[in-house]
Subunit: 219 residues, 2 copies
């Protein structure tokens, strides 16, 4: 599969722009755990995921983390190219959550094409609106949902992504996704275990009653 | 002052687009307290503030509020036109915080021009990126800052907006901005009063030691 198939508005770009974009692409393989973009380092470029999984998160001064959104096959990351727009005044870190194949689109080329091409500018708009929706969902979660519901929802989401009810995940990783202290996560998972919803063992959370867990996240 | 002067990329639009935009504009006066856009009602249109002040906020199912961003003279609100982009999957409410003069730009016209005009699409991108930055700032505040620092920062911001240290504001309004229960705000304001930073009276919070308040919000 070629880049063109991963770029939905390819046919709306003119031949000159297509040529510029193809000529400047960089392919990259990132092993699970690789930091692809670090908030404080300038403009990595736009990341287009061919296959794999990326995680975008922010860090507090004390090193606490919270996941902002995740990117899967065919998703594009704009904020690794934050210098592209002067109004982007925040920093995210992007890491590979699984072994990932991706393309890196250089900022300057993308920016120049976007300045001339309404289709590319509108496509970029849609991507940003989609991330904006992720972030608004996150605010609603943080503000109005209790932590037990957020953990339940996170475990169910992980099970859907991984296609298994036996999740290889530590309490610390869950804490980093949700922006909560590790001890608080551990306490809540033990409560879930007592309620028969999960079974805990070293490095593993097994969902034993998905239905009950789903009720916990709706209540 | 005409609309053209409030629309920074006016000269980058072609005459046909300029004509369409001017021909479809609606001017509106909104008294303080008016709800201009309600999340659940469809596409109001884009709001461009001539003078005044708007507040964008979200509501929980239980009726709790939190301010997402505010709009001042010359600011434009995209999310009152959320049907404009299919990726906008969240709802905000927009209310006038002061008597406000504004223009409403109809969605369909704006959308049609944006589909053809790279300058308008890029301008829209910059506005969205700017709101995105506001929201990321908010997440950092909620996640990593304690409530006392958030209240201190809010009071200083209000004083800067209003140009006075004597703020006509109730504890409930502060609670609605910050997304916290009213009782918690009251308790914290009393603590600030005991520390000599503010003086409380009915419907008023007077900042009596701005320097100490600033230190409280940096600590």
């Amino acid at each position: 599969m070629e880049f063109q198939n991963y770029f939905p508005i390819w046919n709306k770009l003119n031949p000159e722009h297509q040529k510029q974009l193809l000529g400047s692409l960089v392919t990259r393989k990132a092993e699970k755990g690789t930091i692809l973009h670090n908030g404080s380092i300038d403009c990595t470029g736009l990341l287009l995921v061919k296959s794999g999984q990326l995680r975008a998160y922010i860090l507090s001064e004390e090193g606490r983390e919270i996941t902002i959104y995740r990117l899967f096959d065919r998703d594009m990351c704009l904020f690794s190219a934050s210098c592209m727009m002067r109004s982007i005044q925040f920093e995210v870190t992007i890491a590979a959550e699984k072994d990932t194949d991706l393309w890196i689109l250089p900022v300057e080329i993308y920016q120049n094409i976007m300045a001339e091409s309404a289709p590319l500018a509108n496509y970029t708009n849609e991507i940003m609106a989609s991330r904006f929706s992720d972030v608004m969902w996150l605010i609603e979660q943080i503000m109005w949902k209790s932590l037990d519901r957020r953990i339940a929802a996170f475990l169910l989401e992980e099970a859907a992504i991984e296609g298994t009810d036996t999740l290889k995940i530590t309490h610390e990783i869950i804490a980093n996704h949700l922006g909560s202290p590790r001890e608080v996560i551990t306490r809540m998972l033990r409560y879930f275990q007592n309620e028969g919803m999960v079974r805990l063992s070293r490095g593993t959370v097994e969902i034993t009653d998905a239905e009950k867990l789903e009720k916990a996240c709706e209540k």
